[in-house]
Amino acid sequence: MSSDGARGISRFAMEILVATATAALGVAVCYGATEAGAGWTEMGPDAGYFPFYIGLLIVFGSVMNILLAVTRQRKLGGVFIDGRRIKSVASFLLPLVAYAAVSSFLGLYVGTALYIAFAMHFQGRYKWWIAVPSGLAVAAFFFLVFEMGFKVPLLKGPVEAWFGIY
């Protein structure tokens, strides 16, 4: 329980961090609600009336969670995540974020092809002549299903425009 010092986040720290974050969110909700009017108008309860109490309840629950975490700190002992696992989660999460970022510029089809190819090549250690066609195939399949089949288009970018696909 204590020999996990080898780079990692303890469960206790994470409990406190998350409860503090939800408490902050609760305060933000209360603030937003008072801005919208948390009182009473001649038309009845104002727009922020209900959310204000929701915010209060979030704060209350979060404070209780912090108290419970502190009183049961010994029982909570243990790691939330260790260094090795952080690495494997990050290796999945970061390309995913990059995928979202690239898609804002190049559209979702190109983003998808790049992301699948990248993930297969670097995470799955596939040769690029397998990874790149796979990425293109998935993007093409999406195009067929969404654009042609269900007629719900995805975001397109400059590359499609260059090929004359709108």
């Binding site: 979030i58 419970l68 009183t71 494997s88 983003g111």
Partner: protein, 512 residues
């Protein structure tokens, strides 16, 4: 019986080639999302929902509900063949299903699971057929205070019955309510909680939350564990299917008891997961010969599977008749109904009987289609799981991103999915339950409207929630449920004080 007549009319509506085809598509996609890690029923239904916007509501709901049945079956498949539950509700199936499959009886285990699941589901539908009209009629008497009391009851029971800490359930649920109220206020038309961010004006869709929380969050958990699939080669032989079906009547008592548990848990928000665990627990504890449980006892497969599926179908009863969904997936489907312009609840039975009874009829047919399809296609799905996660994972991400974009053609939603994914991952690891958040997001506006309309009726006095017998009873049960964890805690503390005055820990929140 009026209900039976209406049911036959319902069959009349749905028995077309197109609808049966939709059922098969729905079930197939459902099994697929049930089998794949990181994609479950709530999420699969969310991903499919935008594609049904242009369909007839009845076709849309057939597709979505059949996907739900398929996902329930898919979850059991991976439990048995890979010891990996595809759905939380099929965890209990791994206890005996995997050992039996490992002992060379994979076909027997799968057939037992599928057929008893089918029986459970059909029992749930029969219950819905018989009871729904009555419940809806009863609910016609409800006005806003009663509605708010029903919502209150549903949420209170989540807090008291939730398996993890009650305050975590509270925070998760209230976050859902807060997220639901972002954007335009439905009554006054004012903006609220947008914090001057233009992207928030249209609000945050519950679909985005589900895709992130259940989809991306689950994938992150899977990568962290570095999943390796060690599957059992499965081929279902017809002769063995037949022999196993003949074996089933021996477990009739287990089946009946599991159906009962399933229906009870399905109608209340406890849901399929609680039902399958409870049913397994009862079966293993009450069995005369316990030695085989955990090593491949057939009753250990029949009990959780029957309860899981009867709870899964029963969860649609409160959604249809009261407008209060009994599970996360039912909540997503209810959101779908509202998007199609239908209002779930008693009025739906009056205004659109064709839709309601069409749906109920499709539940009979859909489950039968699902049992046949799943038995026929098991080897195919088993082979999908042999594809390495480094390919499947990114493809699932791509599907989720595309689905998120399609909800309202907005890239902001894609980023929100990433955020919700992180939140889901952290919440899951810290035992914050996710289902209450989704339920609150779907019901948020309706609960708030009911509350505010009641306040209007009573000009601001809370006493309206105690103004007649019906609403008082509902509120009283809700309050009791809310207080239950606190009472247990007080009792636990006082008992501990008697024995060890220095120890002050609450015993009702052990699972950490």
């Amino acid at each position: 019986m009026g209900n039976i007549g209406l049911l036959f009319e319902g069959f009349g509506h749905i028995l077309t080639f197109q609808h049966v085809l939709l059922m098969m598509v729905g079930v197939t996609l459902g099994i697929l999302v049930g089998v794949l890690p990181g994609l479950g029923a709530p999420n699969g239904v969310s991903l499919l929902l935008p594609l049904t916007f242009s369909m007839e509501p009845i076709s849309g709901i057939i597709l979505l509900s059949c996907m739900y049945w398929g996902a329930l079956f898919g979850g059991s498949t991976t439990s048995i063949l890979f010891n990996i539950p595809g759905e939380p509700s099929s965890v209990a199936t791994t206890f005996d299903g995997y050992p039996m499959a490992k002992a060379g009886q994979a076909s027997r285990a799968l057939t037992l699971a599928f057929v008893s699941a089918g029986i459970g589901a059909l029992a749930g539908v029969v219950m819905i057929t018989l009871v729904s009209g009555w419940v809806a009629n009863f609910a016609l008497r409800f006005s806003s205070p009663e509605y708010f009391a029903v919502y209150f009851l549903a949420f209170a029971s989540f807090i008291s019955m939730g398996s993890s800490a009650p305050f975590k359930t509270l925070v998760s649920m209230m976050l859902g309510f807060a997220l639901a109220s972002v954007g335009m206020d439905t009554i006054s038309g004012n903006l609220r909680l947008t914090f001057d961010i233009p992207e928030l004006i249209k609000g945050i869709s519950f679909l985005i939350a589900v895709m992130g929380l259940f989809g991306i969050g689950e994938l992150l958990l899977t990568t962290e564990e570095g999943l390796r699939f060690e599957g059992i080669k499965a081929r279902v032989r017809i002769s063995e299917v037949g022999r196993t079906v003949l074996e089933l009547p021996r477990y009739w008592f287990t089946v009946v008891r599991s159906i009962f548990i399933g229906i009870l848990m399905g109608i209340t928000p406890a849901g399929p997961t609680a039902a399958s665990f409870m049913s397994y627990g009862l079966a293993s504890r009450s069995a005369r010969d316990k030695s085989n449980f955990g090593k491949g006892d057939p009753r250990g497969i029949v009990a959780p599977e029957t309860a899981d599926h009867s709870a899964g179908t029963s969860a649609l009863l409160p959604m249809l008749a009261l407008g209060v969904p009994g599970s996360a997936t039912a909540a997503v489907m209810m959101g779908g109904l509202m998007i199609w312009g239908l209002t779930p609840g008693p009025m739906l039975f009056v205004e659109r009987p064709d839709f309601v009874w069409g749906l109920i009829a499709s539940m009979y047919l859909g489950n039968i289609v699902a049992v046949i399809l799943v038995i026929a296609t098991v080897p195919l799905y088993a082979s999908i799981l042999r594809v390495p996660f480094t390919i499947i994972g990114p493809v699932i991400v791509a599907v989720i991103f595309s689905g998120a974009y399609q909800v309202s053609n907005s890239l902001t939603d894609v980023w929100l999915v990433v955020l919700f994914g992180l939140l889901g991952y952290i919440f899951k690891k810290l035992d914050y339950p996710l289902a209450p958040l989704v339920l609150a997001m779907v019901l948020g506006d309706k609960a708030e409207d009911a509350f505010r309309q009641s306040m209007l009726l009573s000009s601001g006095k809370l006493s309206i929630f105690w103004s007649n017998g019906l609403v008082s009873t509902l509120m009283a049960i809700g309050c009791l449920l809310l207080l239950a964890p606190a009472l247990m805690w007080v009792m636990g503390v006082s008992r501990k004080r008697l024995t060890r005055p220095d120890l002050r820990q609450d015993p009702n929140e052990n699972p950490l």
